[in-house]
């Protein structure tokens, strides 16, 4: 069977240059850099102009330290005035279709009591730093409603985000994780974060502290960049793409040899998370760049189960394969290796496999604190709502799903925010499409 898949894949192997066929276009960004507003050099306007005109990137973020830190008695933490100024400059220099400048902050500390560094872009406010309060930081990010990323997640450093411990309540706080930051590879941390349960996407950045915003060459001789898949080059589209984790991490050399690596599972792109009935999924990996690819890898739950060796060197490759998914969560991500050693990683696609037998269930059951309500999706559904009842039929809580085919989170609390008592609970799930309303019932248990 595997041989057959390989053969089909070879038949689809394409030669020649051209654009990857998708509704999104890949824009290249550097999402982590500093100026003298914290511990870097020069000023934001110079940095943005350099990234745009010299490095030729589409998106540049300035993420100044915001942690109250100081060096030799001099604070390098960004001031509120400077942050307002940075936001103003970023908005002024952003030109739709040409360049997007992001104002960011790098919060937290890598000191002995710090949880690590987290980049947050375009937050309305500055984090009131408490460098040991990781959960407080997650909750602040959720309040700000802006994208965020784990920076240089080095497990040998102190807390490293409580060893990337997964808190379901804060799942939506974190969007990306750095696989490369200037010189170090953090692929292990990426796999670990996914294994822990985080829904985070791939990013590679330069963490510039000198005047090389957008084209800093790392110790491997490559330039780290994040490919951001958006329909247009505007600030809202870029922020949406970051929060949707529609990204590719890459390190390239020369600067012009940028990589497009797009993963789709059943026509859903990297970063997406959806529920699907168990069965066969169609996976497509499309890679294109200025130089040849050597091999592509498909990782299943963090393990490179499938490999595609590019026999005839080509700068554009399409690999199609089928995989069987069963009950439970599975996630796929792709990795590409070029003949010249350049690498790229996609964000994962998360799929929650459900069975038609149990149309509405909670993961986990029994519920201790937080659970996901998972259900058999109605085709072409536009909305989903879960209503939770106790045994007596009392309406405990009504939750509207954020996406019609994504699990619905429940924190085990009633409409007034009180933890519900132990017992059996019922879920009435209502899915609506343009033509149909489907009601399904499920039963779960809370025990704590």
């Amino acid at each position: 069977m595997k041989m057959m898949i390989q053969t089909t894949a070879l038949c689809l192997f394409l030669l020649g240059a051209g654009k990857i066929n998708a509704e999104y276009k890949c824009f290249y960004g550097n999402l982590h850099a500093h100026t003298s507003y914290s511990d870097g050099e020069s000023t934001p306007d110079t940095a943005f102009a350099y990234a745009r005109d010299v490095a030729g990137v589409d998106i540049q973020a300035l993420t100044e330290h915001n942690n109250g830190g100081s060096f030799s008695g001099v604070s390098y933490s960004i001031t509120p005035e400077h942050y307002q100024n940075l936001r103003l400059i970023a908005d002024t220099i952003t030109a739709p279709g040409r360049f997007v400048a992001l104002a960011g902050q790098e919060v937290g500390s890598i000191g002995s009591s710090g949880f690590g560094h987290i980049n947050v872009w375009e937050a309305p406010g500055l984090w009131p730093y408490n460098n040991s309060d990781l959960l407080g930081c997650y909750s602040w990010i959720l309040d700000q409603g802006c994208p965020a990323m784990y920076c240089h997640p080095d497990s040998s450093w102190n807390s490293n985000f409580n060893d990337l411990y997964y808190y379901q309540d804060y799942d939506r706080a974190m969007d990306l994780i750095e696989i490369i930051n200037s010189s170090t590879l953090y692929e292990d941390a990426y796999l670990r974060a996914l294994e822990r349960g985080w829904h985070v996407g791939a990013s590679a950045n330069q963490d510039n502290h000198r005047r090389d915003w957008g084209n800093r060459v790392n110790s491997y001789g490559n330039i780290p960049l994040t490919g951001i898949w958006a329909d247009t080059l505007t600030k809202p589209a870029v922020l949406e793409a970051l929060q949707s984790r529609r990204t590719t991490a890459m390190e390239v050399s020369p600067a012009s040899d940028r990589i497009n690596l797009l993963l789709s599972v059943d026509d859903r792109y990297q970063g997406e998370h959806f529920i699907r009935q168990e069965g066969t999924v169609k996976i497509m990996i499309q890679a294109s760049a200025g130089s040849d690819f050597a091999s592509l890898y498909l990782y299943t739950n963090g393990i490179p189960e499938d490999t595609f060796k590019v026999v005839q060197a080509s700068p554009m490759v399409t690999w199609e394969l089928e995989k069987n998914i069963g009950l439970g969560t599975v996630y796929y991500h792709a990795k590409a290796l070029q003949s010249d050693g350049d690498r790229a990683w996609t964000s994962p696609v998360h799929i929650d496999g459900v069975s038609e037998k149990n149309p509405v269930v909670t993961w986990p059951t029994p519920i201790k604190n937080y659970a996901r309500i998972v259900f058999t999706p109605l085709p072409a559904a536009v909305s989903v709502k879960a209503v939770i009842y106790d045994l007596s039929g009392k309406l405990v809580k009504e939750i509207i799903g954020s996406q019609p085919d994504q699990p619905i989170g429940w924190n085990g609390k009633d409409a007034k925010g009180r933890q519900v008592l132990n017992g059996v609970y019922f879920i009435r799930l209502e899915q609506k499409s343009a033509t149909e309303t489907r009601v399904s019932l499920g039963k779960t248990m809370v025990s704590r």
Partner: protein, 294 residues
């Protein structure tokens, strides 16, 4: 001093009360299904009488009753109770209840199946009722329940106090229902019981061929609601029952309950009652009760 009393009274009222599920309040009998809380006043079937201890004292015969209920979503309940007149001193009651909450599929956090989980609840009730001056009924109920989960259990207890005045075809009752400590007793997550204050009157017409009651139930948090109940006898041994009760937080429960009863069957005064109520998309509930007096 007065201020302090007013403030503490306001604090008491403002205290958040979770309308938590108290298993002893889950209906198991046909009349509870039909009348809802209205059965506290309206009910005449032996087991229904036990719900309101102030009417216990008026039972002059030993009675036994048993009920089974089909709940929605593969949940089943049952109960059995006995009332025993203690000469001159009143009437005592004893009841046992059981709920099978069915099976639930177990899953890990990432959706791997983990077999099936089962849970049950069991209830115990003790009551005592007195009649004074042939008109005043006074009663007390003690109730306890235990919920069994795969790896733990929760338990709690409560009480009801009731007063009834009965004159001819008229009766009136006041009741404090679910008075007890936080529930459950053995869990850090516990809440004050949602004590209800119930008042109502019941009247019979046409020599008992038609009876009806109006009752009002007041609770701290969710506010009050009325219960209206009606029973009529088109035949001597057949009665039809209808209850109206709209409890705000039971959004899917039909306000109407329907039922019927065959009474005075055989020499032992056997009765068989049936009750039905819809819970919309969640399903329907129906109960069958049997009683015997001797």
């Amino acid at each position: 001093m007065k201020k302090i009393i007013i403030i503490s009274w306001a604090v008491m009222l403002a205290q958040t009360v979770q309308a938590q599920l108290l298993y002893w309040d889950m209906p198991t009998t046909a009349e509870q299904v039909v009348f809802g809380e209205g059965c506290l006043l309206q009910s005449r079937e032996p087991q229904g009488l036990l719900q309101n201890p102030s009417s216990l004292g008026f039972i002059k015969y030993r009675t036994l009753s048993a009920s089974g209920i089909q709940w929605w979503q593969e949940v089943y309940g049952g109960s059995a109770s006995a009332a025993l007149p203690v000469r001159r001193y009143g009437t005592a009651s004893f009841s046992l209840g059981y709920w099978s909450l069915g099976t639930v599929s177990g899953y890990t956090e990432d959706g791997q199946p983990m077999g099936t989980l089962q849970s049950q609840a069991s209830n115990l009730g003790l009551g005592y009722g007195l009649v004074m001056a042939d008109a005043w009924g006074l009663g007390l109920n003690l109730k306890a329940s235990r919920l069994n989960l795969p790896d733990r259990y929760d338990w709690g207890w409560s009480s009801d106090i009731a007063l009834m005045y009965k004159r001819g075809l008229l009766s009136g009752s006041l009741m404090v229902k679910d008075l007890g400590p936080d529930y459950p007793r053995n869990n850090d997550i516990r809440y004050p019981q949602n004590t209800a204050y119930v008042a109502g009157v019941r009247a019979e017409y046409l020599a008992g061929k038609v009876s009806g009651s109006v009752q009002y139930n007041i609770r701290k948090e969710e506010g009050g609601y009325p219960s209206l109940s009606l029973e009529s006898y088109p035949l001597t041994s057949l009665s039809l029952k209808i209850g109206y009760e709209k409890i705000p937080e039971l959004a899917d429960r039909s306000p109407l309950g329907l039922g019927m009863e065959l009474k005075k069957l055989g020499r032992r005064d056997l009765s068989v009652a049936y009750g039905y109520r819809s819970y919309g998309d969640l399903g329907n509930i129906q109960a069958l009760s049997m009683g015997i007096s001797f």
